[in-house]
Symmetry: C2
Subunit: 278 residues, 2 copies
């Protein structure tokens, strides 16, 4: 039996980069968890002495602070700088972009519309860059636009993890009612890359292993996508759940992993499957 | 029987303005017909000595030239200026806007996409304002975008008379594939104002008279819209086609007119209906 990894799986570019940055700064603290995976947080703690600050109160004056992929609000960054903390910026470049756009467009007098969840850390960071907070609005549905005091010139950005088709609904509602809408497509397609790669592999594989949290929505989605083309698709959290009977008589075993699954967990699964073949 | 005019009918703002400008410049020539209505062209000829130049060759060095609502290409304007013609600009302000946008966005390095008909005089004028003609494209369908060498920053304008829902198809196709799309909604809603006003009136009237060319698509559309709510809706070109039997026992006669129908034709129809009531 051949084992093949999906061409895209697991951590996205930004998370991989943030973990590498943290590893390069032993003894620092991350402001908020770098990733929703306790095993990976523990690995960074044990191997690199990376601490975790849940709030600004947990950060002491001499701490080196890693900003995670989501970024942080401008005023919190100002607090860290004022405290003379060493700030290590691991904000995903795909998140830095909408922050910079909001700042620039706001300076140029555009009303700002942000398509996203106002409670999400990424969005709290992005909106903080508007120079005129009263002229920046966060919406999730197009009907929320109706009552907003927007000017005739609007700049629009999206939370990086939103679906393009939902973004277009906001775009369309704005365009029919405003003179100029400056649309910045800041959606990151990492989520869809993993899904597309898993679907492609599932079409060829006769057994698929999807690795990730049983309660992770993106992992469950990967699993259901694989099921469509490969009935023998299994969702597991780690190698201990593997069952040798799954691989009997199979020719191609495909592997995919959710966005919070570290590579070493994936590697452990592959090693265990290899050993079962013997 | 009461007679009521639709709240919006006939010539749009830009055409009314262009005719007023022509009347204020007796003895001038229009470059291209001001409107697709021979009676109105004749009235301007007889009452104000307004001539008609079908091409630049018909324009002599000492002519005063009225630019019609569609505007003209930049290089033709340069020819008129070089010949020392007196140029009287009756370009509709709603058309001047996309011309200026294309010039400015093109100077700022945006690829230009114009949603419209490349053979329409308005579009020939608008596209001529791109400082880099190789980076300006005219499309009518979203699939035409696929093969265009557009940069990651695109500015989009529309022919003023296009339908908003068709414009959105172009917008949506661009947004999913470009970093920034600067959308300028340059659609003029005059056409829809006449339609909305006719529909509203047809709901209350028990006979509707729609005045306009039998082959004019916008007049035929007005007629069919009226028919939906008022079965006794008639399309006529002038007062001579009126039939007294249409008004027998009616309480409210609604009137609308196509975009190329002069007000004096409408007034002649109203006068004739008034006389029939007696």
């Amino acid at each position: 039996m051949k084992i093949e990894l999906a061409s895209s799986y697991g951590f996205c570019f930004g998370v991989k980069r943030a973990i590498r940055i943290a590893e390069e700064h032993k003894g620092s603290k991350t402001y908020g968890p770098l990733i929703h995976n306790k095993d990976e947080i523990n690995r960074l703690k044990e191997g690199f002495n990376i601490g975790l600050a849940e709030s600004l109160n947990d950060i002491d004056a001499d701490d080196s602070v890693v900003i995670r992929t989501h970024g942080i609000p401008k005023h919190e960054l100002a607090v860290l700088n004022k405290q003379n903390n060493k700030v290590i910026d691991a904000t995903c470049p795909y998140v830095t972009t909408p922050q910079q756009i909001v700042e620039k467009m706001s300076e140029e007098g555009y009303s700002i519309v942000i398509f996203g969840d106002k409670n999400h850390p990424e969005i709290k960071g992005v909106v903080s860059y508007a120079v005129n907070p009263k002229d920046a609005f966060i919406v999730l549905e197009s009907d929320e636009l109706e009552d907003l005091p927007l000017s005739s010139k609007v700049a629009l950005v999206s939370q990086t993890t939103r679906k393009p088709e939902d973004f277009l609904k906001i775009v369309n509602a704005l365009i029919l009612t405003r003179k100029e809408v400056r649309v910045f497509n800041t959606i990151c397609n990492a989520t869809f890359e993993n899904q597309d790669a898993a679907a492609e592999l599932a079409k060829r594989a006769d057994v698929m292993i999807v690795i990730g949290g049983k309660h992770s929505s993106n992992t469950k989605q990967l699993h259901s996508i694989c099921k469509r083309d490969c009935e023998d698709s299994y969702l597991i959290e780690n190698e201990e759940e593997l069952d040798p009977s799954w691989f009997e008589g199979k020719k191609l075993c495909g592997i995919s992993a959710g966005a919070s699954t570290p590579d070493w967990v994936v590697q452990n699964v592959i090693n265990k499957i290899e050993s079962m073949k013997k």
